[in-house]
Symmetry: C2
Subunit: 160 residues, 2 copies
């Protein structure tokens, strides 16, 4: 199953490589990963989704804790969290199909962010379920390119 870990690390060369290397050495694939600076620019947050099992994720977490540049690890898998991903889809759409694509995007509250002669690019955000449904719909038009940010998560305010 997919486990989501939020890892706070020092923002310096090599840290991301050590974190991903540790997961790879245990033979697990990273389904998605996002990293960027936090409210403190010296600290970055890595959100990583790993397809693993309970025993292995515990071992991975323990080993990550031992890395000198890792400050904090939160397992967000079963927590009550807000999870979001951003996806850009470039789909085939000539002038005859454009209105259909615009309609489909509207239903999912997605935005049309670019239009070429034969393509349209859609920006969508949401939970994994919602994005999967939109993707299934857009596949009918022919998806030329997909770019995903990977999932990010934040604990709900009710827990504070």
């Amino acid at each position: 199953m997919d486990y989501t870990l939020s890892v706070l690390v020092q923002n310096r060369p090599g840290v991301l490589s050590r974190v991903t290397g540790l997961i790879a050495r245990r033979g697990f694939n990273i389904a998605s990963l996002s990293v960027g600076p936090t409210e403190d620019p010296t600290i970055s947050r890595i959100t990583v989704v790993v397809d693993s099992d309970p025993d292995s994720i515990e071992k991975i977490t323990k080993q990550l804790h031992k890395l000198i540049d890792v400050y904090k690890i939160t397992d967000l898998t079963d927590e009550e969290v807000i999870e979001r991903e951003l996806v850009l889809y470039k789909v085939n759409a000539n002038s005859e199909r454009r209105h259909e694509v615009i309609e489909a995007a509207g239903v999912f509250r997605a935005k049309i962010v670019d239009m070429g002669k034969n393509t349209m690019t859609i920006e969508a955000t949401g939970t994994m379920d919602k994005l999967k449904a939109l993707e299934d719909l857009l596949r009918g038009y022919g998806i030329k390119e997909i770019v995903r940010t990977g999932k990010v998560s934040l604990g709900r305010g009710s827990r504070d």
Copy 2:
């Protein structure tokens, strides 16, 4: 300056670690990175932003090309591209400040996605410039947590 590389790789354990390791060994810090599956689930796309210089980025690109699991590298730095990032901000906002935060979010077409007794969580997407402006505004309320997806980019349809 910041360089944006879009790297198509085989979706299997260890590939991300080799890519990030190669950049780290040259001593460059990864400003942001996103990875997720593409329209073909056996292939993942890594979008990586590296603060580097022209000579070094050329060397990094050449070395990345030599990795067996790397299929294609596109330097999106100077291209005409659509670039987007998703950020979740958790800000301090008790009942008295809520309407101000809702107003600020509205101006930036951001969404309130959660509300606790003393906090609100805002989901915003856009270009780096827009998100920086929103962040500066929200800092006035006190930002408790920020989670960024890192930048993703797609070539404009007019180039197809």
